[in-house]
Symmetry: D2
Subunit: 157 residues, 4 copies
């Protein structure tokens, strides 16, 4: 059973005062998935640390991947939450890194899913986020080699 929580992501996008080239629903889903994944990874690293002395040495790779995934997902959520003077080259590269780390972390957690329930839940969070990011990536494709800023949202005077 998945949990749900109140978020303001969609409302913040709906009240954004300038134009936006990206699909707001798709973007909101990606931002929320990244936030939920960062939380799950932080919690999974900590739950791994609370496993017994015999399990712990086998979980070090998982803990490290959790920590990387938490940091990268949090930074990516922040980048995607900003629409002003949006630079597709930055968003695209950052979302690619996030897609990679969610895959790496899902694989690590997946190795322990039968032994540890928190790894099973965290694997699910990572796989779902990876799937959503891969769907978003084409929309972020920089157009041409020019310093592409496809949604020049901010009113520059």
């Amino acid at each position: 059973m998945k949990g749900v929580a109140v978020t303001y992501t969609q409302q913040m996008l709906d009240t954004y005062p300038a134009e936006m080239n990206l699909d707001r629903g798709k973007l909101a889903r990606a931002i929320d998935a990244l936030g939920a994944c960062a939380q799950a990874c932080t919690a999974c690293a900590d739950a791994c640390l609370s496993e017994g002395a015999e399990a712990l040495p086998m979980l070090t790779r998982c803990i490290r991947d959790n920590l990387d995934c938490a940091d990268i997902c949090a930074a990516t959520a922040a980048v995607l939450s900003r629409q002003t003077a949006y630079d597709a080259r930055v968003s695209h590269a950052q979302v690619k890194a996030a897609a990679q780390v969610t895959k790496t972390c899902a694989d690590s957690c997946g190795e322990h899913r039968d032994a540890h329930d928190h790894c099973r839940v965290c694997e699910e969070a990572c796989r779902e986020t990876e799937r959503i990011l891969i769907e978003l990536l084409p929309d972020l494709e920089p157009s041409g080699d020019a310093p592409s800023r496809p949604s020049q949202a901010a009113p520059q005077t």
Copy 2:
């Protein structure tokens, strides 16, 4: 209309492999509120930047408070997501700082709620988070002046 998003916070707490002194439902609500508030503040700072040249100079305090609130809420969510070797003095001090910044930021956004819808939504996110944190604070009270670690969760061998 508030949005909802899938989060894994409650599931991660339910699968935590050691004991926990805190109420898991209350803790999950606080962690989710902090994550949603950090996102709203990041988005509100950016939406403020996209307002017109005449509005912008009046929004600089709001932007700064948004950025502080986003950073502090994100760090606090991470601290509360960790149960291993939990130190009440750290959690208590950090949650107090988060309660302060959500109040400060709600007040700043509140000054612009009639002019800017994103400030209205962000004020709501901040006030809700402040309320939840203030409810949580007594549970985090360090007991006595000893180096209190009330929920010594990790199996130390």
Copy 3:
């Protein structure tokens, strides 16, 4: 032997375009110490994870404290790096939380300083940062119970 690195903290404060109530040298030292401490704690958590299977179970509290310290110090450095519309109540509460976590983490690392050199270095980073923060705290004291904003730096029009 301590390392040194190029930072731009002092230069950024010296080129800040508005007035500032705080001593710039003292502030720069605190921001740099927080940044260096966050890095040391991230690295110490990881080095602990690379210790052998017999040492690892005794290091879980140290790892957790390292992770809290890294997150809180990074957020505090960001808050102190912002001078616009500075709110002493937020800075004061956040610096107090950082002083607490650097003390807690220094104590944790200190227990392992003889066994693990990285814990000895990280303890030093935490103690130095705690000392600098405690020196800074009185300068951040909110004046009275009014919504104190002592260095109202931003030109609000």
Copy 4:
């Protein structure tokens, strides 16, 4: 005149308890540059906010790029600070994203370097970091399409 600050990055790498495939001096330089760049960008965004009402509307792109650069550099510094179970595919993708955002941010700050000293200093921080990251990138190249983990540092039992 550049400032220098005490960091523990090199010491933490020198006391790392397992093997490491990367050059420690090069890695320490990259981590320190990323930390210093994140700080400069946070401070530059805030200094831009404190500019006068006539300058501010032209600085919104610069502020947004500063905020992205700060978030991405901080996450990248954390990823590079971890050596346990190092996954080259994650580090490589994340460092590429950081190289992109430091270039984008340097270009934005560069447009304002004559008008605003803080933009000049921040451009310097970003260009230096981009140069160091581009030098590091070939060392992080994942070898082949296998789940490459070139420096499997952690003693897995």
